[in-house]
């Protein structure tokens, strides 16, 4: 299994809603990532978990709250989002995050989020 699975594929939410994005991998990877990708733009790193600990938070607003319950799962909890938060949210994973020569970064297909 070389997949990163994200659910849901599409999500529409109001500015007062609370929702969660889910990401799962069963490759034994110990680094997991959340990226945000606006249309026609490159992915922007939001958070990195390394060995289930938050190692990087790229100054993301607190209305985005990541959670790593175990080494296979990564969640992104959403609350009080703004319309400008509408984007494709990508999850990725890699073996350790340290960038060794044989390490690869695997991306999920993303959750297309629309905030109304």
């Amino acid at each position: 299994d070389t997949e990163v699975t994200q659910t849901p594929k599409h999500l529409v939410m109001g500015m007062t809603n609370k929702k969660s994005l889910k990401c799962e991998q069963h490759m034994g990877h110990r680094a997991m990532y959340w990226y945000k990708q606006k249309a026609k733009k490159p992915p922007e790193l939001m958070f990195v978990y390394s060995y289930e600990k938050l190692s990087i938070n790229e100054s993301v607003p607190s209305r985005f709250s990541p959670e790593c319950p175990n080494s296979s799962l990564l969640n992104l909890h959403l609350h009080a989002l703004q319309p400008e938060d509408s984007a494709l949210y990508l999850c990725a994973s890699s073996q350790t995050g340290q960038g060794e020569a044989n390490e690869k970064l695997f991306f999920g297909s993303g959750t297309q989020l629309s905030v109304l």
Binding site: A31, L45, A92, S94, Q98, G99
Partner: protein, 115 residues
């Protein structure tokens, strides 16, 4: 801080034409370089990567890229494109010291191949 520039934002080619997409990075130290492809509606996939050794790297689907250290460049090439190569292409760079936790993407090049 590292940065990546992709000069061609949109490229339109006919099938069988040759392709070269530019990528330049700014970082003074050792770098690892990547090209990713995103087909319409699909996830990002790794085309090829350079870590060390031969600066001419061959990837999947007939793509190759050449690392020219003196020019800080890592251009992507394919001798003959197909309609199925229509996609967005992202160059990316990271330092071995920070790994994927500090992977920086370029702005992307949207390739349209007409049949």
């Amino acid at each position: 801080a590292q940065s990546v520039s992709q000069h061609n934002h949109h490229v339109i080619l006919s099938e069988a034409a040759s392709l070269e997409l530019g990528c330049n990075y700014s970082y003074g130290g050792t770098v690892n370089l990547f090209w990713y492809v995103q087909y319409p509606g699909q996830h990002l996939q790794l085309l090829l990567k350079y870590f060390s050794g031969d600066p001419l790297v061959k990837g999947i689907k007939g793509f190759e890229a050449e690392f020219i250290k003196s020019k800080f460049s890592f251009n992507l090439r394919k001798p003959s494109v197909q309609w199925s190569d229509t996609a967005e292409y992202f160059c990316a760079v990271m330092s071995p010291n920070t790994g994927f936790q500090k992977l920086v993407f370029g702005t992307g090049t949207r390739l349209l191949v007409s049949p």
